[in-house]
């Protein structure tokens, strides 16, 4: 059996109170006494029980984080960042993700409940399946939350996101500047607030330039490569074989863009010669596929950093610096090509 603080106290010939003080490093202890306790700790190989400490201090020193899934480039970056930020302040995280099947919203609710049962000090939430109301309701019961990648009306102070509408505008501008006026879109899920924002920014900017996107050229995917493939196939089926009636394609994330390009290539269409493609996110692969993807960079890691720090500040009375705005940025690579005005 592992030794306890009592053993340490006994061995050092002091009371448990004193032992506790030197272990936690807070409270006055005579240097000489401290040394004796330290000694006892070493010889016993004592490790304080975080559980007992938690019970008495009423905190496990941990934050819960919900992500719909661990897979994929996007969420990994988020977890990575959160974990790092937390360890810097000697806290940790428990994670929950959506289960295998069933309604995604229910899964999220369930995952959040799971985390609350675990008595997290706060929650970091990433989900586009949850309704605004779900989040507002949760916040009412548990104010220690931070919402990632979406802005919930009424909860602005705990929401952290890049400006996806601006991101959409950037993509549109890039295409417009290159002379494109006939475009198609592979969208993300329509209930995803971030997707809607970028789509809105994109369409609005296009519209301001007098460009309309007919609805049959907008296909909905779910952010996975497989859905990107299906969407591209649908687009091809719908718009007939080459020559395509559009010269540019905007995809709501890079994985779908990459998959779409592979479908296009299989159909004999070259990017960017026959079709320009703009992705979104700037995932790790964007720079490493052929052609390298022109995309809108979303620094989701930076967003996660701010959210985490803010939550740390609120939960632990810290004062970590948090920079609020993380601007999306267009990164030009090879998948967009200038086209002659007709």
């Amino acid at each position: 059996m592992a030794s306890t603080i009592k053993d340490v106290a006994r061995l050092a010939g002091v009371g448990v109170g004193t032992a506790s003080r030197v272990i936690s490093g807070k409270g006055p202890v005579a240097p000489e006494t401290a040394a004796r306790v330290q000694q006892a700790i070493e010889t016993l190989g004592f490790r304080p029980s975080s559980i007992a400490r938690a019970l008495s201090r009423k905190s496990l020193d941990m934050l819960g984080v919900y992500v719909p899934q661990y897979q994929g480039l996007f969420h990994g970056a988020v977890l990575e960042t959160i974990g790092r930020e937390l360890r810097e302040v000697d806290r940790h995280m428990v994670t929950a993700s959506g289960g295998a099947c069933g309604d995604a919203r229910l899964q999220a609710l369930d995952g959040i409940d799971f985390l609350r049962q675990r008595e997290c000090d706060g929650l970091l939430l990433m989900s586009h399946e949850l309704h605004d109301d779900d989040l507002r309701q949760l916040h009412a019961q548990m104010p220690q939350i931070a919402v990632l990648n979406r802005i919930v009306p009424g909860l602005e102070s705990v929401c952290f996101s890049s400006d996806h509408e601006l991101g959409g505008r950037l993509a549109a501008q890039c295409l417009l500047e290159a002379g494109h006026r006939e475009v198609a879109i592979i969208s993300g899920p329509h209930h995803a607030p971030d997707n809607e924002a970028r789509l809105h920014g994109f369409l609005d900017t296009l519209g301001a330039a007098g460009v309309r996107v007919p609805s049959e050229r907008i296909i909905t995917g779910d952010f996975t490569p497989a859905s990107g493939r299906a969407a591209a196939e649908a687009l091809l089926a719908r718009c007939g074989p080459a020559p395509l009636p559009f010269s540019a394609l905007f995809c709501a994330n890079d994985p779908m863009a990459i998959a779409a390009i592979s479908v296009l290539a299989a159909a004999g269409l070259r990017v960017p010669e026959d079709l320009s493609v703009v992705g979104y996110d700037d995932c790790e692969f964007a720079a490493h596929v052929w052609p390298a993807l022109t995309t809108v960079r979303i620094d989701i890691g930076a967003v996660a950093t701010q959210a985490t720090r803010d939550l740390i500040n609120r939960c632990y009375g810290r004062d970590r610096p948090v920079i609020r705005d993380v601007a999306p940025e267009l990164v030009r690579r090879q998948s967009v090509r200038r086209v002659d005005a007709a």
Copy 2:
């Protein structure tokens, strides 16, 4: 303040023991009494404190998992699986990953220590940076561990891995059958046991067919796309421009293969027309790039499943079914092409 079991007991007019029994569902309770307690729980919105329970039962019902990083396709799948398996038995996981900088082995050791401090009931470990001895030593102190993706001599019973040597052989056979006799390799890190196993299987199979791979055609990467790109560039620089002195390239994982192909494409080399490429892992993108990657499928999720179940069985006296062998499998797609015997 949240209500406690005492409040519930008082409201229901029973002793805490009884309340505890109905909450945990174990121990005899009269149905009528149980109903009263249940009622009290509802009206109070009572949630048992997992911390207090943990202190008294000496278990947080959680397993620790160490992965070098969250990012990337590979580790995400592992976490996904572990999380799911755990929730099925109402347990959860804490995760730790390597920090930003410094010696990767030290980071892993540090992460493991972090997990142990959190009093996990057991540890799932994924790291190719750790020495065999590190793991053996840890196991001596804490037998509740499971090691993923490598087989440590002396620790076979707690190690779970696909047969990477066989995986390497599969890749070699595929190339040999297609008539290739001049090959190049982009390897993973040489201290990674899984990489070494697949390389060994690959080279050995080639060797048995009388094919040798000159050392200047073996470049070492670190499994990231960026390293795959660098490796491919080095290969090109080393072996001059087209025509290449080799007709096939084996990459130790798919992300490096994808990046390598993009470099090749940029240099005007077509896959598979000018060069055949075989990847490894069958990551999510393998089927969705152009050309679709012929690769060796490693079902890392299945490996994680077995490991997790086995650890659950050991830690919680369960008896979940665990199937031991997960065989690698060649999946033929478009990146390999038959070549005429010279």
